[in-house]
């Protein structure tokens, strides 16, 4: 059969990592796939660009922390250029008094923790074991593909969950039952006494979410996050920044014959008789395919690209109610040398660094955020990728990549005035640990939630195409009727972070959606 260059087996909308992964899986299975991206470059929030001439850094997300090895292998990403600057980065919580805590087991690490509190050093191993067993119980539910809708399958799945929980044993089960519905702050207060370790572990759990350390349900969401992460034993740092990951995905997809078009904005998804038959671009070009997969936000896909007239009113309401909370800003800095962080060993400069001195500081930042303000102490996750990936920058120079948590989408008085204040606060917060930071700064770029929205198409600057909260997870993600990637429009599937299991660079929505399309295609 001869294909015209406007006819494909499948069209994938959006070349973020999920779109790329979906397209690559389909291509690998021998399908003729067209992948369309509105922006001029691929990768969505996973790109590498210059902060200032010759200083390159991951523009948005800066660590890869939940990608399953299976996807890496299936798509032969290593062959297509994926290189890890470092696997399993250490996470270090910075201490004002230079006794920085490494959040991992190991004798040296525990010795430092013991300087803060002997009880906490003893509690730490038990805590990690407990979190691990929690995620062993809940993990499969949270990361495996959703079972079909039949009550028998659901029931079998839930019975297995009960069984796994029973096998935990009395005390662990008891603490799971007690802590699961609660907040991460209460959980940590019950476990530790050192403010720093509580602050750091809470920030680790809350990064990117719009909830505070004492918000109900945060214990569960942090276990969900942990169980997604445990698939890849992350976080990992990528050579060339996260753009390197995108490049490898694109190369893999291209090797399977996927046709990739950047700077091609889709205007609408074409539907006839309740069945999708292609898409139309902003420039009025029409591409046809029996399958269309969209990695765009579910609301954008269903309401803007398909149109409400094809959907029932209840679904439209649900789509309109998906919440996205922007809570982070990104600050990238070019530095003319490595800033000195007292107490940090030379090999630790390449680690993932958390700045969150206490639950109190975190809660204050959350309160300020809720009321449209900026905290005096900004919680942040910092990496200096140039330490382990020298080619990013000119020799002897460095880049620092900072994710600031609890930065609101809108601020009282407007961002016009607030921008400089935020940068100033961030640098001041960090200067408490790295006094010479300010002198090292050559250039910088700040991305506020509205900038993240504009640049990466993430609604409100939220990371996940729908906040990862209990009412927007599992069978509810993005809405009950859309939870299994299929939509009421036959042949149209969702394959982005807005679908189960959700965001956090795990690539699973893309993989699961592609597998579903392949099995449906085989049946047809």
């Amino acid at each position: 059969m001869i294909h015209s260059d406007h006819q494909f087996d499948a069209i994938v909308i959006g070349a973020g990592h999920n779109g790329l992964i979906a397209a690559a899986y389909l291509g690998k299975a021998g399908k003729r796939v067209l992948l369309l991206e509105a922006a001029t470059r691929l990768g969505g929030a996973l790109t590498t660009a210059e902060v200032s001439p010759d200083y390159r850094v991951s523009t948005g997300a800066h660590l890869l922390d939940a990608l399953p090895r299976r996807i890496e292998k299936d798509l032969k990403l290593a062959k297509h250029g994926l290189r890890f600057a470092a696997r399993q980065l250490q996470t270090i919580a910075l201490d004002r008094d230079h006794n920085h805590i490494v959040l991992a087991l190991g004798r040296g690490n525990l010795d430092i923790l013991r300087r803060h509190s002997a009880a906490d050093a003893d509690a730490f191993a038990a805590y990690l074991a407990r979190m691990k067993s929690y995620s062993a119980v809940l993990g499969p539910l949270l990361r495996d593909a959703l079972p079909d809708i039949e009550p028998e399958t659901m029931s079998r799945r839930l019975r297995r969950l009960v069984w796994r929980a029973q096998r935990l044993g009395g005390e662990t089960l008891e603490s799971l039952m007690r802590q699961l519905p609660g907040s991460i702050g209460d959980l940590l207060n019950d476990t530790f006494e050192t403010p720093l370790i509580k602050g750091a572990l809470a920030l680790d759990a809350l990064m990117g979410s719009g909830e505070g350390p004492y918000s109900a349900g945060t214990a569960l969401t942090s276990i969900a996050r942990q169980s997604l992460r445990s698939i890849s034993k992350g976080p990992h740092s990528i050579e060339g920044g996260l753009g390197g990951f995108t490049d490898a995905l694109a190369a893999s997809a291209a090797s399977y014959g996927v046709v990739i078009r950047a700077a091609t904005d889709v205007k609408r998804i074409l539907v006839s008789d309740g069945h999708v038959y292609g898409i139309e671009t902003q420039t009025n070009e029409i591409y046809e395919a029996p399958f269309v997969l969209s990695s765009a936000h579910p609301r954008e896909t269903m309401l803007d690209l398909v149109g409400a007239k094809y959907l029932d009113a209840g679904l439209v309401k649900q789509l309109n109610e998906i919440t996205d909370t922007g809570t982070t800003a990104k600050l990238n800095l070019s530095l003319d040398g490595l800033p000195t962080i007292q107490g940090l060993a030379p090999q630790e400069y390449g680690a993932r660094i958390l700045v969150a001195p206490s639950l109190v500081a975190l809660d204050d930042a959350y309160t300020a955020f809720k009321h449209g303000g900026i905290a005096s102490d900004i919680p942040m996750e910092v990496t200096m990728p140039s330490v382990i990936d020298a080619p990013l920058v000119p020799s002897g120079q460095h880049v620092m990549s900072i994710v600031m948590q609890y930065v609101p989408y809108e601020i009282k008085g407007g961002w016009e005035q607030g921008r400089d204040r935020l940068v100033d606060r961030a640098i001041e917060t960090l200067s408490a640990y790295a006094p010479d930071l300010r002198q090292r700064i050559v250039a910088g770029e700040l991305m506020l939630p509205p900038d993240i929205e504009n640049k990466f198409g993430l609604v409100n600057g939220g990371w996940y195409h729908g906040d990862m909260r209990l009412d927007q997870l599992l069978s509810f993600r993005p809405a009950p009727a859309l939870a299994r990637y299929a939509t009421p429009v036959k042949g149209l599937y969702l394959c982005g972070a807005g679908s189960h299991p959700g965001g956090g660079i795990c690539g699973l929505p893309g993989e699961y959606a592609a597998r579903l399309v392949l099995s449906e295609g085989a049946r047809a």
């Binding site: 009550p151 659901m154 029931s155 009960v162 089960l173 519905p181 349900g217 214990a219 309160t367 009321h371």
Partner: protein, 540 residues
């Protein structure tokens, strides 16, 4: 030597309900109360000669229908009144009232938004549905998943099956109600700010949650507790007992004695007598010892275990676990005797909804700020003020032409970050609240004949509630159902043999007035070889 089948320590509504159910089941029960009057937090008093009112609570508390009928309370003198559901006043002169009558409610909502009048039907249906399924759940015995028994495991598998057959959209609705914030949840129904403020203020009053706290939406369904639902299609009624909450306590006390039980007031229990690790009775402050086969405590979890037992007699680690049970005071009470009925010019004359009380509503942002102030232990700046003038509908409470006003002020911290609750601070606080009310009611200040202000530490010392927490333990999801008060103790049992918890610290706590007492009575009666029969769960 005095001996009974069972002793109940404390005469709050749960203790009274427990004792009444036990007495009715033929158990020889003695209830011991430290104060002169029964009722604990429900107690009332004469604020001024001739002026009677509930001293600690707002005064709208009622009992579930099944408790009233089970215990034949009307026979013991209890009468309830149903009045319209309250008015919210806004600083800009707006108001919103709740009516039981569906047409009046619709007209009221239409004043603000036609869309909201339509949304009301949907909201009301969803809340009633949630309320009914909660009632169903409360009627089931609570299985504790941390108890590793075959029966518990079977029950859990049964729950899993039940969950599996529920349609996903229903589960989604349930999850939204139980996990979302109140403000966000209301946004999915209503557009008019005052309608949302009206509902949020009433739902959140007395809770430790703010309008933007995750899992605060579920308090909205409490507004629709099935028993108060009229058939009219409007808002649920406010239920007032004739004679105030004190009358509820007195009727329960009369019921206990009517069923052959015993009540002793002005007797304080100081110790639980233990032998071989089991409770055998109680010791009173005057040294008297009374023995029994079962002892029930209506004191909160902390007070029960930290005050009635030598800590060394409790299992290892238990005191720490009790210490971690979260109890936080959030409500202060101001009691006023008034020389006449205050006027609220914004509200039409004779608006019947005023009888259901009034709230000074505020925008969600401001309410959240009040909540955040409370969380950071700031002296209240813009607390949530709720008032009831029970003498409007119950003329027995005040001399002719005069009135009592019961004011509950929420988001008031127990401990202030910068010092203690001194008298001058309390005076400032009282002035703030009276000033706020006067802003809506010119001349209000001049009507006041007498005032009393009770901040959470006062409530702790007068009522005995730890931290002044009326909920006897925060009603957060991790302290509810099988977690209340803690895993392993969900069945009113404690690590001490023959010793049971019947206070609001146990399940279902604040979800149902007297519910813990009824549940504990069932458990204890079974242990004593008796059977408590209740209409709970029988169709309403």
């Amino acid at each position: 030597m005095e001996r009974h089948d069972a002793i109940v320590i404390g005469g709050g509504l749960n203790g009274l309900t427990a004792a009444a159910y036990l007495a009715r089941a033929g158990v020889d029960v003695l209830l011991v109360e430290r104060n002169e009057r029964l009722g604990s937090a429900a107690a009332g008093f004469d604020i001024h000669p001739g002026f009677r009112m509930p001293r600690f609570t707002l005064g709208t508390s009622s009992l579930p229908h099944h408790t009233v009928t089970d215990l034949e309370l009307p026979k013991f003198g209890l009468r309830f009144m149903r009045v319209d559901g309250g008015v919210s006043l806004l600083a800009d002169g707006c108001y919103h009232a709740s009516y039981r009558d569906g047409l009046m409610m619709r007209r009221e909502l239409t004043r603000h938004s036609l869309k909201d009048a339509d949304a009301w039907t949907r909201f009301r249906r969803d809340m009633l549905r949630a309320q009914f399924s909660l009632r169903d759940a409360l009627a089931q015995p609570m299985h504790d998943p941390s108890r590793r028994s075959l029966a518990a495991f079977r029950a859990l598998l049964g729950n899993a099956d039940q969950l599996a057959i529920k349609p996903v959209p229903d589960l989604h609705d349930m999850t939204r109600l139980w996990t979302m914030s109140c403000a966000e949840f209301l946004d999915s129904y209503f557009t008019s700010d005052i309608v949302k403020m009206h509902l949020a203020a009433k739902a959140l009053a007395g809770t430790t949650f703010g309008p933007y706290s995750p899992s605060s939406a579920r308090f909205l369904m409490n507004l629709f507790s099935a028993e108060t639902e009229g058939a009219g299609g409007g808002a649920p009624a406010s239920v007032l007992a004739m004679g105030g909450p004190q009358a509820v306590a007195d009727a329960l006390g009369a019921a206990i004695e009517g069923f052959g039980g015993h009540v002793r007031t002005e007797s304080e229990v100081t110790d639980v007598i233990l032998r071989d690790g089991k409770a055998r009775g109680v010791a009173l402050a005057d040294g008297e010892e009374i023995y029994a086969d079962a002892v029930l405590s209506d004191l909160d979890l902390k007070r029960t275990f930290l005050a009635l037992f030598p800590w060394k007699d409790l299992p290892k680690g238990f005191v720490e676990r009790v210490g971690r049970f979260r109890m936080r005071g959030v409500t202060a009470k101001i009691n006023l005797a008034l020389d006449g009925l205050p006027a609220f010019p914004v509200v039409p004359d004779d608006c019947p909804a005023l009888q259901g009380g009034l709230r000074l509503a505020m925008p969600m942002e401001k309410l959240e700020q009040a909540f955040d102030d409370w969380r950071s232990h700031m002296p209240p700046r813009t607390p949530l003020i709720e008032a009831l003038i029970p003498s409007m509908s119950d003329r027995s409470l005040a001399p002719l032409g005069k009135h009592v006003m019961s004011v509950a002020v929420h988001y008031v911290p127990e401990v202030l970050h910068d010092g203690a609750w001194t008298q001058s601070r309390k005076d400032d606080f009282t002035d703030l609240v009276i000033g706020e009310i006067t802003a809506h009611s010119p001349g209000f200040k001049d009507l006041i004949l007498a005032t009393e202000t009770l901040v959470p530490p006062d409530i702790e010392s007068e009522v005995g509630l730890t931290a002044g927490d009326f909920e006897q333990g925060e009603m957060s999801l991790d302290q509810m159902f099988f977690n209340r008060p803690m895993p392993g103790l969900a069945n009113y049992e404690t690590p001490i043999g023959n010793f049971y918890l019947c206070s609001g610290s146990a399940h279902p706590g604040a979800l149902e007035t007297g519910g813990t007492g009824a549940g504990a009575a069932q458990r204890v009666a079974a242990a004593l070889g008796r059977n408590v029969i209740t209409r709970r769960g029988v169709g309403i």
